[in-house]
């Protein structure tokens, strides 16, 4: 499922090199995200700049909800999920925990069909169940609260997929998620580049770097970082 990209662009050449399945098509993104945006608009959310800043986690549904949005037409937006799919398929886990079911329903379905799925309780799960879940049938998952996860009272899991936003407010809690891995388990953290700031002067003081330091401090852990698109960190429990 390779989306349409502008020909002769940098990403059009990359598009020619890849083939993956769990990414959302342009139409799927538009249909799902516009539905979510319509629901969120009913909540009269305070979206003034002073209230929300520019937080991609808050704005993501808005960014992709318009047919004319350049974001949804960019391969880099869609293929950002390609890495989590790749790692999931390579790992081939029996048990998995994800936090981002609403952002990528296709990936959630892939995990559901191939592993024993748990989903983290939160806004993503709420939106997924309320608006997006019925697009597919055959869902079978359990729910883990963030309180349980941060006490490492769930699992164990072979594969955990989080967004940085799940832990960046308190980087230390990433260790609790790691603790829930089976030996050989994999923890994938997406959106780790802090809009590119993690590669800039001062990054050593950022909580995004602190997340990595917390994982590196664990005996027996390995940590990798893919610096393309949104930045993906992958920890392995040896």
């Amino acid at each position: 499922m390779n989306n349409q990209v502008q020909t002769n662009s940098y990403f059009s050449y990359i598009n020619n090199l890849i083939k993956y399945t769990a990414g959302n098509s342009d139409q799927q993104i538009l249909d799902r995200y516009s539905k979510v945006k319509a629901y969120l608009d009913t909540l009269s959310l305070d979206k003034r700049k002073n209230a929300v800043g520019f937080d991609i986690y808050i704005w993501l549904f808005e960014m992709f909800a318009s047919e004319s949005s350049k974001w949804s037409q960019a391969l880099s937006s869609n293929y950002a999920d390609g890495f989590q799919e790749q790692i999931f398929l390579l790992k081939n886990p029996s048990t998995a925990l994800i936090s981002n079911a609403a952002f990528n329903v296709n990936f959630a379905k892939m995990v559901n069909d191939r592993a024993s799925l748990s989903i983290l309780n939160g806004t993503q799960l709420d939106i997924f169940e309320h608006l997006l879940k019925d697009e597919f049938t055959g869902w079978n998952y359990s729910v883990v609260t963030k309180q349980q996860a941060e006490a490492a009272e769930a699992g164990p899991f072979d594969y955990i997929n989080l967004y940085s936003f799940d832990v960046v407010h308190n980087p230390e809690i990433v260790k609790s998620y790691y603790q829930m891995l089976n030996p050989g388990g994999v923890l994938v953290l997406s959106f780790m580049n802090d809009n590119g700031n993690i590669y800039e002067n001062g990054a050593e003081y950022s909580p995004y770097t602190e997340i990595c330091e917390q994982l590196k401090s664990i005996d027996g852990s390995l940590l990798y970082h893919d610096y393309t698109t949104i930045g993906t960190s992958v920890a392995i429990k040896m």
Binding site: T123, D126, T145, Y205
Partner: protein
């Protein structure tokens, strides 16, 4: 099992209260404050004071200096490029603000979910 709005809200409000304590507003009720008040208080945390006495506020890029400085007319972010203490405080303040704003937003969404029940 399915989404538990109350547990989600409990988690969100726990973190908001944590941040409110950091910025000195822990004694107030969450329902009595606005995000604007929280943002303003967060911007006042650990203000950086230069030796000239000029107070820097990287979030608003304003200063309250009454005396001319070498940095007037210059992007105030440049002040922090090579100074580790400024970089550290600036980073902490930026991420305090973003986390607070995110949880405040998520609280509204969670309350919306509770109202559906």
């Amino acid at each position: 099992m399915s989404y538990d709005a109350q547990k989600d809200l409990d988690y969100i409000e726990y973190n908001i209260l944590y941040f409110m304590n950091i910025i000195g507003m822990g004694s107030q009720s969450m329902d009595s404050v606005t995000i604007d008040e929280l943002v303003e208080a967060a911007r006042s945390v650990a203000m950086v004071v230069q030796s000239s006495g000029r107070v820097e506020n990287p979030s608003t890029q304003e200063s309250d200096s009454t005396s001319p400085t070498a940095f007037e007319g210059v992007n105030s972010n440049l002040v922090y490029e090579a100074e580790p203490d400024h970089l550290y405080l600036r980073s902490q303040r930026i991420h305090l603000l973003s986390s607070m704003r995110r949880f405040w937003y998520l609280r509204q969404v969670a309350l919306g979910a509770l109202n559906r029940e």
